[in-house]
Assembly symmetry: C2
Homo-oligomer: 344 residues x 2
């Protein structure tokens, strides 16, 4: 079978298929739940080259519908054949939105690798939700089952410190230009875990069993991060983690946390136009919103707003270095000590 | 001064300026020759952001003409100012081909970072040659002074072995497609030194003091490589090394050899359509030619031809495993032993 897939198409799949953390998370999640797959009907939404469909078939599924809207479906057919699973895996060239399935049209399990950059951007979650509502039998499983999007202030030394001394040459005017350009849109880059300046905040939590498409149109948080190491506040870093169903064992996670090694998603950073030096305890109040684009539903825009420290209420127990928070902390700690003494 | 440089332009310079091996080689080569730079007039051909001009000025040059044809010249002006060298560095917005210089129009030293992928492709060597012929004082120095382009057969596991078992899934039909697309043009990629299958052969040696533009139109070798480790012959890998003048000390080299750590040039690989398993001693005869494109003089095309083993003469002392070479080797070794005995 000869057909054309562009070098770019193939490179995208190559990049995903070489992401060992991604492959291994799906593989483990599926094989840890072998009993749940045994003899079941599975729908792979956006199957691509079909690797997840092969995992499901290998784990004992009776039937896997590998649905792929692009020309890549031809590759999925070949991959199923190459692994001698053409009797189990049925590749269907169709958007899931116009798909019909035989018999009662229901499946026991949906698997999908739908996650885009900062989880939603150019992802495929709408299609998974559609498939769930139309095809998933009540009580059926979704792999992954939930997803969380995190945000935290970060330093970006590659846009900053490096340029103060490039082999003895000061190049900050260059890096200023670079930064001015980089601010224009979110950047996909690797952030070192040392460069994340505070604990992360949950920007979005998605339960794939219940979420609706409308709930994905806008996510917004106002948050007060408290810096836990000295550094330069130069951007807001976003990453996500997905959890898979666990019928027998501990749930498997697939995380793009800077702490947990690289994936092809890397992290997404919204770069600030200027640096702000911070120390341990500095409060960083910010508002971040992720909004679906009206022109192209698969795209999202991010807006970050730096807030005035006074404009946001600090939590009751705040670890920042502001006098009133230090005082409040002292009172609370004393109160806790007292309660503790009283209990004894 | 506000002006527009595209994100892409800036990213290209970022990539070069973050190449520590590149920066350090030029820095060391220039500072090792401080005496040669002291009070001299320098021409930086294709100065870009001007970092090499700053090195020269810091090393004691009396005047540096930083010639840059693109809009980047504005950045070079700012970099010179930022490093307080605006009195020494004169940035000139011009192609070197239409440049005129004050006084006798001569310079003592030319520096340039003109190297492209596989040395010549999209490089700037023609401009350096032009500058040498028009502006360099007799006996003047050129940094770098010579350059060598190497070739050797190699394995490319990322296009091959990896795909035999991707988390338990055989994906060779995918990698076949990927390879078919990758064969179409030379690929810039990182080759591990373990994946180079033989000693390299010199495909081109350039003495920048003497080479002419015409001599760069076509380079061609027929070579018999002898494999020095078992592996799969899957491509021809190209890399280069440049040597800088040494007036006092050992010459500095800038090498993109897979053995010597990564640079932003990486290596260039011509991927073969099929693998050939090889063992120690397998002779690999090939012809490789690099030809200047007639449409765009800055571009080059590469052609690799696998030769029949019988079509090429093996060297007198050949380490390959062919019976006649083993025999010839035995005879030569015996002869050498005899000469040695006779000498004693």
């Amino acid at each position: 079978m000869e057909y054309f897939l562009s070098y770019e198409d193939l490179e995208v799949h190559k990049c995903m298929l070489q992401d060992t953390k991604r492959n291994e998370a799906y593989h483990k999640a599926i094989f840890d739940n072998k009993e749940a797959f045994k003899g079941k009907i599975v729908l792979d939404v956006g199957a691509g080259t079909g690797i997840l469909s092969v995992f499901c078939a290998q784990a004992g599924a009776a039937k896997v519908y590998a649905v792929e809207a692009s020309e890549t479906y031809k590759l999925a057919i070949e991959v199923a054949q190459e692994n001698n699973l053409q009797d189990v895996i049925q590749v269907i060239h169709s958007p899931v939105e116009t798909l019909t399935l035989p018999e009662d049209g229901k499946v026991d399990i949906i698997v999908s690798e739908w996650m885009g950059h900062f989880l939603l951007h150019e992802g495929m979650l709408d299609s998974v939700i559609f498939a769930r509502d139309k095809f998933l039998r009540p009580g059926g499983l979704i792999f992954p089952e939930n997803a969380t999007l995190f945000s935290a202030p970060c330093s970006i030394p590659s846009l900053n410190d490096y340029w103060k001394d490039v082999c003895g040459v000061s190049m900050t005017r260059f890096s200023d230009k670079l930064k001015a350009q980089t601010c224009q849109s979110p950047k996909i880059m690797t952030v070192k875990s040392d460069d994340v300046l505070s604990d992360p905040e949950v920007l979005l939590w998605i339960d794939l069993r219940e979420i609706t498409v409308e709930e994905l149109n806008l996510s917004k948080i106002r948050h007060l991060a408290v810096v836990d190491k000295p550094g330069n506040y130069q951007g807001i870093c976003l990453w996500f983690a997905c959890a898979f169903p666990a019928t027998d064992t501990e749930p498997v996670y697939l995380s793009t946390d800077p702490d947990e090694g690289e994936t092809h998603w890397k992290q997404t950073v919204i770069v600030l136009p200027a640096d702000i030096p911070v120390e341990e305890g500095t409060p960083i109040p910010y508002e971040i919103s992720i909004k679906r684009s009206e022109e192209d539903h698969r795209k999202y825009t991010i807006e970050v707003q730096m807030l005035d420290d006074e404009a946001i209420e600090h939590p009751e127990y705040c670890t920042c270095f502001k006098t009133r928070c230090i005082l409040a902390r002292a009172v609370l700690e004393k109160y806790e000590q007292n309660s503790f003494s009283n209990e004894n």
